[in-house]
């Protein structure tokens, strides 16, 4: 029965046939219409349209945007953009490449046409992908190329905005550098807004804020005649300049810190403990960011990457150091808060501490005698803290260290921040498959051993102490604004957490830190200032006895590599702190003698200017200010 139902009856069949005929007519008519249109375009209009395509009568030209400025907190310009002119060559526009080059060489009147011959090997040559012959050509050469366009088929001039790093080396790590987008970056680009030849931030702020700084390319549509001359501009879409960025950095402090480090390996971070604003972020040694403009040369790159002092590394956020005695504040805070000691608790220091069959020495061979907490901090007595650390235990110590922001990224707005390391029993079991040794807790209590912190973490922790317990997320960017000053995005201070330490304990510790700098016998007296009550802590971290002395770390510091790192961290004024500083000077010896004087210089600069606010800051870099916009027009 189903069979019959599915069969078509005679009436239906004839109706079907009629409909199929109609469909046939529609199909043939539609496709014929397309064929006719093709005939019209390709055969009748063909010659004319071919002319058009051959002349490329309409040519699209990209106008590169001006990249945004980067300014310090006082709106002093740190990075600026200027125009440079590159000579390009499109191989597909000429039949005889060699003659074009000979022509260009003779016009220049010197044969020193320095381009990379390798790109002209037949396999790699793409006829319509422009090759950059020469970057940043002089005005004279530019004039030659412009006036001889007819003799130089395929040779064109490209206007490229070039970054001016007015801060130079002292800002290199912080600001970063830019370069032409690489094929890998193009492949990774999800937004599909970058095209080859675009400038892109490669590190630092330039990379982190690239989407804001880069601006938007403009397009110009130009009609060109058979001779390759522009006839008229058909349409134009202006490029949009990138947004300007205002940092929290104070260029003056940055400069003082940089000069105080004097090119030796180390790092300085200064922070406003009231809101976490980063005032200075210096890493030394550094590199010249302009080397990367238009691509770094092989030679320069080899020099930079082969340097034993690693100038490319930003030590302020990715240098990891044992905190040394600066860590004693964490130990003391934990012990006081947990009620394991009181400020009056005392221990006897006779120069060393015995545990099992091992001896742990105090830095003061003669010993400090019977000593209580305040003096133990002032004189940085190691034996006192061996005792206290043993009471607290490794896991409790780790808990407090973490609460102060150590051993984890601070979340600063920069790429490539390192974690640091705060060990626990569990971590050691996982990592080394060995139980925790009590002796390791002893080393830990004076900041040696597995402990590693970055200078930025250290200053964040001391800021928390200074401001009564608030751990801030370091704030590096104040705001992003459009060229007309309209604020696009502002970055409010961000409270990460509050340390679980009572006000009484914090006050006790701050008093002791004041003693370090100002009391008789204090280790940080080199940072003493009469008019500002500085509180601080020295630290000296041993390089040689590091248990995790990895090979890489060893080979990194070939000269004087066995010398200790000097640390100093401080804040001032002690009762209402406005600035906190952490200084690390690698292989420089004692914190009190090598690092504290650096902090002192920064404090001097900060408070001197505060005293005479009318005085303009010394011209740190140059006097470029906001008038540098829209250079293209």
């Amino acid at each position: 029965m189903t069979e019959i139902r599915n069969q078509l009856n005679g009436h239906e069949t004839s109706a079907l046939h009629r409909r199929f005929k109609i469909m046939l007519v529609i199909v043939v008519a539609a496709l014929s219409l397309l064929a006719l249109r093709m005939w019209y375009l390709q055969v009748i209009e063909g010659e004319e349209l071919k002319q058009k395509s051959e002349n490329n009568s309409i040519r699209i030209r990209k106008i590169k945007p001006m990249r945004g400025l980067i300014m310090d907190t006082h709106r002093e310009v740190l990075v600026d953009s200027q125009c440079s002119f590159d000579v390009l060559f499109v191989p597909g526009r000429t039949r005889n490449i060699q003659s074009v080059f000979d022509q260009l060489g003779s016009l220049y009147q010197d044969a020193s046409l320095n381009f990379d011959r390798e790109v002209f090997t037949p396999g790699r040559l793409r006829p319509f992908v422009p090759i950059r012959l020469e970057r940043n050509v002089s005005r004279e050469k530019l004039a030659i190329v412009e006036t001889h366009t007819l003799d130089l088929p395929g040779v064109t001039v490209d206007v490229v905005p070039v970054r001016q790093y007015l801060g130079g080396e002292m800002m290199a790590h912080l600001i970063g550098y830019t370069g032409e987008i690489s094929p890998e970056e193009l492949d990774k680009d999800e937004s599909e807004t970058y095209t080859s030849g675009d400038l892109i931030g490669k590190s630092g702020i330039e990379k982190y804020l690239d989407p804001y700084l880069r601006g938007k390319s403009g397009i110009e549509q130009v009609e060109i005649n058979v001779l390759g001359k522009e006839v008229r501009v058909l349409g134009k879409e202006d490029p949009e300049p990138g947004y300007n960025v205002v940092l929290t950095i104070d260029a003056l402090l940055q400069k003082v810190a940089w000069e105080a480090l004097a090119g030796k390996p180390g790092a300085v971070v200064a922070m406003d403990p009231r809101d976490g604003s980063v005032l200075a972020l210096v890493s030394s040694p550094a590199y010249d960011p302009t080397l990367f403009n238009g691509g770094i040369s092989q030679e320069d790159w080899k020099k930079l990457s082969g340097d034993p002092f690693h100038p490319m590394e930003d030590r302020a956020i990715s240098g990891q150091y044992p905190p040394g005695s600066t860590y004693k504040m964490i130990v003391a805070a934990a012990a006081l808060q947990e009620g394991l000691i009181t400020p009056e608790t005392s221990f006897v220091c006779n120069g060393s501490y015995e545990l099992g069959n091992r001896t742990y020495r105090c830095w003061h061979k003669g010993g400090h005698g019977r000593i209580s907490l305040h003096r133990a901090i002032v004189q940085s007595c190691d034996v006192y803290f061996y005792n206290v650390g043993k009471l607290v235990g490794v896991d409790k110590l780790a808990e407090y260290a973490r609460r102060f922001g150590l051993g984890a990224p601070t979340g600063i707005d920069l790429p490539r921040e390192k974690n640091g390391m705060i060990p626990t029993r569990e971590w050691k079991q996982m990592r080394y498959k060995e139980p925790w040794q009590i002796g390791e807790t002893i080393s830990l209590s004076i900041g040696q051993g597995y402990n590693l912190v970055t200078p930025l973490q250290l200053v964040t922790a001391y800021s928390a102490l200074a401001n009564g317990g608030v751990v801030w997320r370091p704030r590096l960017i104040k705001q992003i604004e459009a060229v007309d000053g309209q604020v696009i995005k502002s970055f409010a201070p961000e409270r990460k957490s509050v340390v679980p330490v009572s006000t009484g304990v914090i006050e006790q510790l701050k008093k002791a830190l004041w003693g370090v700098v100002n009391e008789e016998g204090g280790t940080g007296r080199a940072a003493q200032r009469k008019d500002a009550d500085v509180a601080g802590k020295t630290g000296t971290s041993q390089v040689i006895s590091l248990p995790n002395n990895e090979k890489t770390r060893k080979s990194k510091y070939i000269p004087s590599r066995f010398r200790d790192h000097a640390l100093f961290t401080c804040f001032a004024p002690v009762h209402n702190p406005e600035i906190a500083i952490a200084v690390v000077a690698e292989n420089a010896g004692h914190g009190g003698s090598a690092a504290a004087p650096i902090a002192r210089k920064i404090l001097d600069a900060y408070f001197d200017r505060k005293k005479s606010p009318g005085k303009k800051p010394p011209v740190v870099i140059s006097d470029h200010r906001m008038e540098h916009q829209g250079l293209l027009h």
Binding site: L24, V27, L41, D187
Partner: protein, 369 residues
Amino acid sequence: MKFDRRLFINFDWMLLLVVLGISLIGLLNIYSTGFNQVYAKQEFLYVKQIQWIVIGLVFMTAAFCVDYRFISRYAYLIYGCSIVLLVIVFFYGYATRGSQRWILLGGFSFQPSELVKLTLILALAKYFDHHRRNEFYRLRDLAVPFVITLAPFLLILKQPDLGTAMILLIIFFSLILFIGVHWKSLAWSALVGLVLIPAGWFLLKDYQKDRIMTFVNPESDPLGAGYHVIQSIIAIGSGGMTGKGFLKGTQTQLRFLPERHTDFVFSVFAEEWGFLGGMVLLVLFLSLILWGLKIALHARDYNGTLIAVGITALIFWEVVINIGMVLGILPVVGIPLPFLSYGGSSMVVLMTCVGLLMNVSMRRFILQP
């Protein structure tokens, strides 16, 4: 299902040859679009397209092995599943260029809106087969199939993907014109349509309005939407009678042409192979479509006829609208050119459609068990 020797004898070699021929032309063409490019990922698109063709052939085989009457039994279920996929896209799909069309399936990104073209045809074919009438259909008879079409239409319009959504409506109208509608019903639909068009204008996104405006006058916006059409016309026209030659299309290689490997593939082909090449391609498409109609006419049952008509209509309209748009006689809407445009979902679904056509074709003599 028993194996029947007649299945092999009746296998539609002609259909396979035509489709393979068109796909091969498409492959060469995609190789050309990637040849002179800066992006590594575009250079190797043709390798991926080969993968898609192979996967498509697997699906095609699957689609003709199982009797279409068996498939049709589950047509509503299959349709329902594809709607569920569309809903998933609506909530969890990922977007590129402001349009949320894709979902990830085992590492592949997949476009359910392509699949819906096929499942809609299956569902409508089943519905019209079950509700056969000897006289013309009236509006109330069309209410249910209209809702069946409207659901995916709205979901896809929201993505937004105007082109694909329109194709669904076109499939619907093609099928109801084929089954026969009372002239009064037609008149009413036309009237409602005329009222809805101005209302729909306000629902369109700005870029969609732009495209329709520039279709009316491409020179009004030479830098924006009109640019595509102008450059496409220059590319096609400059190909002349015999074309500029393989890999030598300056419009393509100079990257004047936008969307070279997707919507504007035909311009690339016409520039490099000229009027003659274009005609060869058109004739291949014509044979494919006529062959599809022949299959529909000789189908064993009405359901088979409707499936074949639906699939043929899909291919026909996509070809006409895509080529019409690159030739500048239709507005630019994102509709791929079957078997030539780069794209996995489109290729696999179209191959499956062809598999179904073969299915209907080779079972035309077999009595139902």
